[in-house]
Point group: D2
Chain length 340, copies 4
């Protein structure tokens, strides 16, 4: 009996700890072998699969990224359940652990519906999956963003500037909310809450008037209320293609023009998703990995491991992938007390 394991979608600190947890528990408790599927669904479709013995997962929980590689290949555009069933049977693979975000888990759910024996492990930097309190990767991303804002703030204060820091979060503002609270931001801007340029400038001016260098944390998916032509190109890139500046880059000159405060922007980008995982993420990911192999052994196909309070539970992939977990208004209001 052997179990396949794959990581799919954007990489995330903690993926390796999931893999290690699953492989060691499989080896020691259930006497099952693991097969490592390379680059997500691509490796499964193309039968790019290698044995994954225990010695190959030695020490990897401290490493960022994924030793299996990842890709954004969609299995349903490349043979779907039928092709996957063929490869799994040819390999003697009696179960599959798919680690990924909303897209990956939706694919896993659909494959489970079509009879593929699959269990999901949720992965998202953005913390946007409902049905789990948190996922690994989010804590590391918040930590990196917070440390970066701590650094950027000292320059802003020395030069009496306003600093706009753009963090990840295309659809939800969890990283901005947590990093903004942790770093003591004077404004936190997230896709879920309408805020106008005038309000942002008001907070910046209040902070300035109290002698502070205003720090504005903005999620990449935020749009100022009333902003027109959001998606209009901001110029051309090196190949003459329309280029869309990030929201941080667009906000900074508007704040400077309206308030007279010299304003700079910084975009943290991929820094938030790479590198050594935080202790929190390593623990959660290890627990997810060991729970996932148990779910496979118990043939709980179509479920996903999940953190509820301090417990690891199994939830149905259907319920887990239908609702985006956005920041509730009251969580933002709670933080907004500290703005300005």
């Amino acid at each position: 009996m052997s179990i396949g394991i794959l990581t799919s979608g954007g990489d995330c600190p903690g993926l390796n700890a999931v893999i290690r947890g699953a492989v060691i528990k499989g080896d020691r408790i259930h006497q099952v072998e693991f097969l490592g599927i390379r680059d997500g669904w691509r490796g499964l479709i193309e039968d790019d699969i290698v044995p994954l013995p225990r010695r190959d997962v030695r020490g990897i929980s401290r490493a960022g990224g994924t030793i299996l590689g990842t890709s954004r290949t969609n299995p349903f555009e490349n043979g779907g359940a039928q092709r996957i069933r063929e490869v799994m049977e040819a390999r003697g693979m009696t179960g599959l652990i798919a680690i990924g975000g909303e897209g990956t888990l939706t694919a896993a759910r659909r494959l489970a519906d079509e009879g593929i024996p699959v269990v999901g492990v949720p992965k998202t930097i953005d913390n946007d999956l409902s049905a789990t309190d948190y996922t690994f990767g989010f804590d590391t991303a918040v930590s990196v963003a917070t440390e970066s804002i701590d650094r950027l703030r000292t320059t802003a204060e020395s030069h009496h500037r306003c600093m706009v820091v753009e963090v990840m979060g295309r659809h939800v503002g969890w990283i901005a909310l947590h990093a903004g609270i942790a770093a003591g931001a004077h404004a936190i801007l997230i896709p879920e809450v309408e805020v106008s340029i005038e309000q942002i400038c008001g907070w910046a001016e209040d902070a300035r008037d109290r002698g502070r260098a205003p720090v504005v944390v903005v999620a990449e998916g935020f749009v100022p209320s009333g902003e027109e032509q959001l998606h209009a190109p901001r110029g051309l890139d090196a190949f003459g293609r329309p280029r869309l500046g990030g929201i941080g880059e667009r906000l900074a000159p508007q704040i400077e023009q309206a308030t007279g405060i010299e304003t700079r922007s910084a975009t943290l980008g991929h820094l938030q998703r790479g590198g050594v995982p935080s202790a929190y993420d390593r623990v959660l990911a290890t627990r997810f990995g060991t729970a996932a192999v148990d779910a496979v052994i118990e043939k709980r196909w179509g479920t996903m491991v999940s953190l509820i309070g301090t417990d690891i539970e199994l939830v149905d992939l259907h319920s887990a992938t239908t609702v985006l977990k956005t920041v509730p208004q009251e969580r933002w209001d709670e933080a907004a007390i500290l703005f300005g």
Copy 2:
């Protein structure tokens, strides 16, 4: 109207973020003034109290320790509720926020029973308080311990040694459990679970036989099953007083003697409780601080703020202080799969 605030017991990363959150929310939403009580209950008994305006909490959430100072003074040995009532009345203090661990919260509960208008904020590095999923300080302690073990491991591997790392946890093993999982320890020893020297040596030998340098993480309160004369002095200190070596220091030579593996120990000690709080702890502490001032405004005397899942709730101090939150056997079992 003014609110007093104090920090009591051992210091903890995040105390300043609680203070800042409470003061800013009090200032901006409730228009109340804060009085800073110096060094825990001592300052309240001795009327060592200073105004705490908003500008004094500027930027402090990034700083470890407590700007108010702390002590282990027991209010009931120094005048009790009557003296506290006198000082509070003289100062016009209509409510009190007491931030502390099990001892502090038990005193707060007893004072509330005697009519003192007090609200608690739980603080424990050790994560040993029931009625809250986590408290601030724990995440920072686990992070520091994990980073330290990561460092110590490289030396152990280069020299083919076993490394015993003693972390905090006199009565409960949460720090050892989490840091041990995060750092990939080959054995985790906690006060809650009986383990013999033979088992420990077995795990060390298994790790060695797989080519690893065994890493043993031990909570300071762990006692090997069957160990005699635990509390027997191990020599005399500089003043000729009996000196009790730590458990890490005592285990190392026993492992070396039994297994033949050269073994060293390291005791992390106060490193785990000082310094810049993690982003996780800053967020939780800020939320606790703003929720505590709300509780005071609503006169929810005798309650404590608490984290349940992802929500901040108020719980009764009676229920919060009667049960020590120990590591359940199943959580240790879950980790023990990875040992050896």
Copy 3:
């Protein structure tokens, strides 16, 4: 007798340690008082000056930025030596310590030529000052850049991408050279050395062929040999002004197009100049500060403190400000062995 002290130009980790070192040594050894000049030359010209007693420098060596503030005001456009002499006399300021980079030190030299009693302290993130082996700030910048590249690399490897990381260095490539060596880059591109797009792509392909995710570190001032229209605008910014993309942003699509390797870029920007200074920078800055106050006491006007080997020496500001310290070809060749 009192000494004025100012920080001018871009901020830099270690400025506060210089200030603290100078003030404490002045207080304890020479019994002189310090005056803090706000925002560089601006504060001196405008007489924006405050007493700087020892208690105000308590604990600041661990903080990034500068407690005095900084600006890019040019003293010669605002009254020059005459105005400065007036303010210094009115304040009873018998000596001046000017901490800054090439521009500040050139101004200080010219002021010294005109009779102003001034001593310089070199400050540059970029390490571009001749007459000193290193200055504070550079080590922190290299450390931050190295940690960032370590993080970015894991994502590149998981996705089999090439990552182009743009670091500071408009005229010299020291940060790129050191961070690139430390992080194991597959190419290091600096303003001092001609490299063509073809060579860069060759290194990326070599790395890819060995199974690596190519990492290219580029100083912001690098120009590929033969690149035309370097300064041509790459589009319009939020206000319709021509927008010049950074070199990292411009290189990435060229590498992707030529090699077929998916390529992303990251620009570290201000992250490199803020935050807690490294231990190395705190030591060097403290030594510079204490040496600078000695130079003032000895009336060594027109000199600058400098690190030669492991010693602090005084050098003439004339010799210190005339030659830009570029990366010698042999230092780049030494590193280039590791490329590809």
Copy 4:
């Protein structure tokens, strides 16, 4: 033609970067193969040697410790030059790179005198080697010590305690000096400088009187002037052997008793020598590695690579190993201005 490489003595951050630098330069420039000798001189004497191709050094410069392993085996007690010559000839090893501290380099010198073709690379956490300005490992040790003191200080301040921090340095005080300056210690105690308990207590009281929590940094080899019975046992260890407490542990109660300030001690121990090397150490170690292989190719037997200012040079092993580099009195005096 092949070159052997070994690491000997205590491990040190940067060893792997030396190995990687040497192997890659050997592979790409000189077309020589490397043989990895396991556990220092032991592996050479016992012929425990493996091929070390380029792919085996991939990415290792970021890892602490040494992939080759290390030991404290003395070659002259195990066959000496004759045995080494036999093994080298049998393996076709035409040159040897020995990376180690004073003991290793002295052995290398003696072997070179007896005709063994060996080049040395200096390695010392303690910075105690003359003939080189710095070696790799020292910067990482100072960084870790400084961060640790920063952490410990917050607890000391919250509790109004004195904190004694013991750092490495049995014979020289470089780590204590640099970490003490960087962390703003109120006293720095090193083996090279006589200081009495009375002076130490005086500094602690001065700091306390200014409202600070006194921080005392002490090198493990420091002895208070006039202390009697330094080497007297302080009790018995777990096996009934005499136990010698560290200097930090011995100083703390003496300071507490004499000053009345509650005092704690912390011993950083192995934390200072493990883990991810600093960027500074990675650069220096890489440069040492590439220079060492050049020295082998040029048959510069009996020399050692060395940092002089910013240059890498070759020095004679005789001159390099005869003088211990101690902290000069003037460097300590320079720092002592900041005490108290």
